[in-house]
């Protein structure tokens, strides 16, 4: 927090892929030439108006963008404070924000002439989005998913298979998202010639954190425009859930230089931050380390061994966080808070009843913070929460916890 405030918060990363001390390229030598190739290809694509035009076309007609900015009137009334808007990315094709990034990366893979796509997935949303885009373009798709997550998220596994993807269980380590990422990296090392690795969040080696952020920033750009149209001014605060942090970064990034906008990232506190392995709050309960190609906040023990996080939401239980979030935390531009399983679950239920929207358990964490924050703020305070996914995939988990047999 003692750092001198930069002129802009939006210039990162530097040429080494660093946001302050976070980020970088901590990968095996085999992958280094590929990562450099990807960096160049992305730079070229970014500078080519036809690439953006093609992407915009797919976002509009295939994904269904722009997603609405919806005034959550009954929730606002119920909480009695800030005026709450939902950015409704759960209405995207495939039901979450993940497809924004996947469309960008798959178009880039095609441009690079790659013939095979691999991805990792936790809850399955990124896997489904990748399988979807691959089906659309006739590309073979392999999705790595932890054995434990495969058991927890059966509907998404079946969806991926219907879409023609091969789902390979990650059987090593703790058999969840981090191990799926390890397996995907291993696949990539073995198939460097023809394979494109489509990472699902703003983490991994440079240029992934930057690239995924750019593709997700459509969320924040739309929000800015829509809020200007609706209210004639910028919002006062933004709230989003954070696992790796891609939906949050997508909403936050276009607003980073608008200093009047308060920013809240909500991590998963699971059973509580005080528990040693019962949460997934990397910033609140972790410290800097190196994993999966980047330096960032990690959950680990005193010996630098990675600890498996816990969250009711399979999309949030990753033991790391995107490096740009780590930087935004250190310099104090964004506030990182947390919500427990219990708080998320009651927010989930409240949202169903008051707004007729079944949220995914991930944004239910963001909503839990909205519930804490909104009543303390004046009625003219404009708050935007990213409703980044719909909850159809979570009804089994929720039913189980509520003791309902389906």
């Amino acid at each position: 927090m003692n750092n001198i405030e930069p002129n802009s918060f939006r210039t990162g990363p530097d040429e080494k892929g660093l946001f302050g001390i976070y980020g970088g390229r901590f990968v095996a030598e085999t992958l280094m030439p590929l990562i450099l190739e990807l960096e160049q290809a992305y730079k070229d694509a970014k500078a080519d108006p036809s690439f953006q035009k093609e992407l915009d076309g797919f976002l509009e007609h295939y994904v269904g963008r722009p997603s609405p900015l919806y005034f959550a009137e009954r929730l606002t009334e119920h909480l009695g404070g800030a005026k709450i808007y939902f950015k409704r990315d759960e209405l995207n094709h495939t039901g979450a924000h993940k497809i924004n990034n996947v469309m960008g990366q798959i178009l880039l893979a095609r441009r690079m002439g790659k013939k095979r796509i691999i991805a990792e997935t936790g809850a399955g949303q990124h896997g489904v989005a990748t399988a979807t885009a691959c089906a659309r373009f006739g590309l073979p798709c392999v999705v790595y998913m932890g054995e434990v997550d495969i058991e927890r998220q059966k509907p998404n596994v079946f969806r991926m298979k219907l879409l023609g993807a091969e789902v390979i269980p990650a059987k090593s380590g703790s058999r969840t998202l981090k191990d799926a990422l390890n397996e995907a990296l291993r696949d990539w090392v073995a198939n460097v010639e023809d394979t494109f690795y489509c990472i699902g969040t703003v983490a991994g080696p440079h240029p992934y954190p930057e690239m995924v952020r750019d593709f997700q920033s459509v969320i924040g750009r739309e929000t800015k425009r829509q809020m200007m149209e609706r209210e004639g001014r910028l919002p006062d605060s933004l709230v989003a859930a954070i696992g790796g942090g891609s939906n949050a970064m997508g909403l936050f990034h276009p607003f980073l230089d608008d200093r009047s906008v308060a920013i809240y990232g909500v991590e998963a506190a699971g059973h509580g931050i005080h528990t040693k392995t019962g949460h997934a709050a990397s910033i609140t309960g972790g410290r800097p380390g190196i994993l999966h190609g980047n330096r960032t906040y990690l959950l680990m023990d005193d010996d630098g061994q990675i600890i498996e996080g816990h969250s009711i939401s399979a999309g949030l239980d990753y033991p790391g966080i995107g490096p740009e979030h780590a930087w935004l935390h250190d310099i104090g531009r964004a506030n990182y808070v947390s919500a427990t399983d219990k708080e998320a679950l009651s927010a989930f239920q409240l949202c169903c009843k008051l707004e007729g929207i079944i949220p995914a358990l991930e944004p239910a964490h963001a909503l839990a913070h909205v519930i804490k924050l909104a009543p303390t703020l004046p009625k003219d305070h404009l708050m935007v929460m990213n409703m980044c996914g719909r909850g159809d995939k979570d009804i089994f988990t929720v039913a189980d916890i509520l003791g309902v047999k389906l």
Partner: protein, 272 residues
């Protein structure tokens, strides 16, 4: 600076034979057995000992080495204990070069400066850190060289002529040529490619080149030793440890001997 690694390779060059570099995971399956394994390696024919620093998420390693790391961690292995193992080994062996191999996070968390100081004190000669490419040399490579440790880099089939100079710039001790595209211990190396690539890399560096990843038998070792300055065997030894364990995954009376026998066998191939 001259390390035990430099001395060893100079001596082998005189002898006119390739080095046998053996990899086992520190603390696998437990501290005591692990010490017994490495203490017997030089006699079995190992010229250089690579000692794996266990990590929960070894992204360049195959199932065999990952499982070994998890076994070691389960038995209570830590970075401190890994350095203590080297200290204990050095009590009886002052010559055999010891290289620590692993991933950056446990070193970073231990503290780079303190790690280098403690490693040097323990009798470590070199480091191989898989997830530190030349782009990240400021992190550990440069400080390690300053501390008098070799920083041994992996070169791979994707290290083309354009990239080779960057890879070799701060490398010392030897070069570890990864003979296959992929993770440790899975595919067998394609010998024709190995020969061509070693020859190509030799135009970029005067350092000895050791070839590893996927070497399992005396015959393979023999073939590789013809073209390279050394052969690295890892997963095969780690598999020998795994095969010797009892149903509870604990060491048996056969564990250390099983590793030493395999090393002896492969050493015959290397010096043939």
């Amino acid at each position: 600076m001259t390390t035990r690694i430099d001395v060893k390779f100079a001596a082998l060059k005189k002898e006119g034979r390739a080095a046998l570099v053996t990899f086992v995971t520190a603390g696998d399956p437990d501290y005591k057995t692990s010490l017994k394994i490495i203490e017997g390696l030089p006699k079995a024919g190992a010229d250089v000992i690579e000692f794996g620093m266990p990590f929960t998420d070894p992204m360049a390693d195959g199932p065999a080495i990952q499982a070994a790391g998890l076994r070691a961690l389960k038995s209570g292995q830590t970075m401190k204990k890994t350095l203590k193992l080297v200290t204990d080994f050095r009590k009886k062996d002052k010559e055999t070069p010891v290289v620590l191999m692993g991933y950056y996070n446990p070193i970073y968390v231990y503290g780079v400066e303190k790690f280098l100081e403690d490693a040097k004190k323990a009798g470590v000669d070199g480091l191989i850190v898989v997830d530190l490419p030349p782009e990240e040399d400021d992190e550990l490579c440069i400080p390690a060289l300053k501390a008098g440790l070799n920083f041994i880099r992996l070169a791979t089939p994707t290290t083309d002529d354009k990239r080779a100079p960057a890879v070799f710039r701060n490398t010392s001790g030897f070069v570890y040529y990864v003979s296959v595209l992929g993770i440790t211990g899975t595919k067998a190396p394609d010998l024709k490619n190995v020969k061509a690539n070693v020859k190509r890399l030799k135009t970029h560096t005067l350092l000895p080149i050791c070839v590893g990843f996927g070497v399992k038998s005396a015959d393979q070792a023999k073939a590789i030793a013809k073209d390279a300055d050394g052969v690295v065997v890892g997963s095969a030894l780690v598999n020998a440890v795994a095969a010797s364990l009892n149903k509870q995954g604990k060491a048996t009376a056969k564990t250390a001997g099983a590793v030493h026998r395999l090393v002896k066998d492969i050493a015959r191939g290397v010096s043939a």
